[in-house]
């Protein structure tokens, strides 16, 4: 369960000025729920995501995930928290272009020094699910857009996260790939994962598997 309590986030701009990105936000996301945050760019959707993933700390208020006050964690522990709980799907994939598909998917697991047999099985499973078996050793920059997207999703899932966060996942995709992504997303809904999507893509607006849609405007929930 994810909980944002009275969260305000300000960003410093320059020496003195600051921008209020979020104003007194309260949000609950249940286990297994799929939530869509929608609103124009700059409305504060991404900020909410980064607070949940503890990439950022709220100026006021707190963020609690599975009973853990992640907004209070020191930098090192936020990383550990993400490693164990969060799967990230970024806008523009954010893969490392000069590594192979396989190496990209391994990246989140490297610090925990996994057992290599286990890892091999896990990779086989993931690459099969996303029909990428033949592309494992191919450098990411030589893959097609669709393939890159699937690699990015595979990377998000490799650590069996309980929370999947997708930030504008279709912003850089054409219609066909966007629909493909939505198909994959649908399959990910299994009752264990909470999925939080931030997007202003109308394709998401009337999908029945999305449990809740939340409108964000100027840093406030409408």
């Amino acid at each position: 369960m994810i909980e944002l309590k009275n969260v305000t986030k300000e960003f410093k701009v320059g020496a003195k000025d600051k921008v209020v990105a979020l104003k007194d936000i309260n949000l609950h996301v249940q286990k297994g729920e799929i939530v869509l945050l929608k609103g124009p760019s700059g409305s504060g959707k991404s900020t909410i995501l980064s607070l949940i993933a503890a990439l950022n700390k709220p100026t006021i208020g707190e963020v609690i995930v599975d009973g853990k006050r992640v907004s209070k964690l020191a930098d090192n522990f936020t990383s550990l928290f993400r490693r164990e709980n969060i799967g990230f799907i970024f806008q523009r994939y954010n893969l490392i272009p000069s590594l192979s598909a396989k190496e990209n998917v391994i990246v989140p697991l490297i610090p925990s020094n996994p057992d290599s047999n286990w890892l091999e099985d896990r990779l086989q499973e993931l690459f099969q699910n996303f029909s990428l078996e033949s592309k494992m050793e191919v450098m990411v920059k030589n893959l097609s857009g669709g393939e890159q997207q699937r690699v990015a999703i595979a990377r998000a899932l490799v650590n069996n996260p309980s929370i999947i966060i997708a930030d504008e996942p279709t912003a850089n995709l054409d219609k066909k790939l966007s629909l493909e992504f939505i198909e994959i997303l649908k399959k990910l809904k299994n009752g264990h994962n909470s999925i939080i999507i931030a997007s202003h893509d109308p394709l998401f607006f009337d999908l029945d598997f999305i449990d809740r849609q939340i409108d964000i405007h100027n840093g406030e929930i409408l």
């Binding site: 700390k57 709220p58 100026t59 907004s71 209070k72 930098d75 522990f77």
Partner: protein
């Protein structure tokens, strides 16, 4: 002053330690003063990040310091060829008045820096980082120790004098000498052997019951009795010469560098014992891994050191 490549090497690295150590020192002071995990101020955020710089620097210093210390002994051994009268590192180290004190001081620092890493490890295991303030305070003190050590290094190398006649280890480690060690030769050496084995047995028993205070104190006693008994008794069997009591000569090639093995096992054994015991007290939990490593290395030390007199007895049918 001698300008040998070895000395330049040690001084160059001392300089690096000084440079990074100073940076780490100032950050440590700040962290010790302002650390507050509950605060969300930019200052706290900055300190959290800087704490990693300090940790990295300390790790670096420790990891380089360990082999550098061995290199220091190695260098002292080599300088003994140059300095008249010295036969091994003992003569060189003692050619300046503070030599042996400096030597033990260096070892003390290795324990302190090593323990810092253990504390850091435990601190970062817990989300509340319970030891952060203490570890940075400890470093601030450790840095002062480091400064003194660097000062001693420089003073030591500048006051080495090729033309000055120094005592060799034979004179230093004997009852007739006026050095601080000499009192131990006036006592029957077998007492030390009995005490050594008695402490060893107690130590082994303490690992079974794992009472932290007992393990801690026994390990501390063990270091001292191990070194004293090495000088008065076991060493003579390494050299196969009843009058040779030097703790340094065994680091030389003639004795297959066995001294390094002996001292390193003793260091690892007691280090893990001491730091494991301290952490058990702090964590209120028995640190089995540390105790096991400690026990294993302390046993190895005892075996190596006992093997010399025993093989001697088997070969010659008599004690020295």
């Amino acid at each position: 002053m001698l300008l040998t490549p070895e000395i330049i090497t040690i001084l160059a690295l001392d300089f690096i330690f000084l440079f990074f150590g100073t940076i780490a020192f100032f950050i440590s002071i700040r962290i010790a003063r302002y650390w507050d995990l509950n605060s969300t101020t930019p200052l706290q955020y900055k300190l959290e990040k800087q704490s990693f710089l300090v940790a990295t620097i300390i790790k670096y210093i420790f990891v380089v310091k360990l082999p550098l210390f061995l290199f220091f002994i190695f260098t002292a051994n080599k300088l003994s060829n140059v300095i008249v009268g010295a036969m091994c590192a003992a003569g060189v180290v003692n050619s300046v008045s503070f030599g042996s004190a400096m030597f033990f001081y260096k070892i003390l620092n290795l324990y302190i820096f090593g323990f810092w890493l253990v504390l850091n490890h435990f601190d970062l295991k817990n989300e509340n980082q319970p030891y952060t303030r203490y570890k940075f305070l400890l470093y601030a003190i450790g840095f002062i120790f480091l400064l003194v050590e660097i000062y001693l290094d420089i003073d030591f190398f500048t006051s080495l004098d090729v033309s000055k006649l120094v005592s060799c280890c034979g004179a230093l480690f004997s009852a007739a000498s006026t050095s601080s060690f000499s009192f131990i030769f006036t006592v029957n050496k077998l007492y030390f052997v009995y005490i050594f084995y008695a402490i060893f047995v107690l130590l082994m028993i303490s690992y079974i019951f794992k009472n932290a205070f007992v393990v801690l104190s026994l390990n501390l006693i063990y270091v001292f009795i191990a070194i004293i008994s090495l000088i008065v008794f076991f060493g003579t069997y390494i050299y196969q010469l009843p009058t040779h009591h030097c703790p340094f000569c065994m680091l030389q090639k003639n004795y297959d560098y066995i001294g390094y093995v002996v001292y390193i096992t003793l260091y690892i054994g007691t280090f893990f014992g001491i730091s494991g015991a301290i952490m058990s007290i702090l964590e209120k939990k028995k640190e089995k891994f540390y105790y096991n490593v400690s026990a294993i290395f302390n046993v190895i030390y005892a075996i190596i050191i006992s093997a010399y007199p025993i093989t001697y007895y088997i070969k010659h049918g008599a004690w020295l």
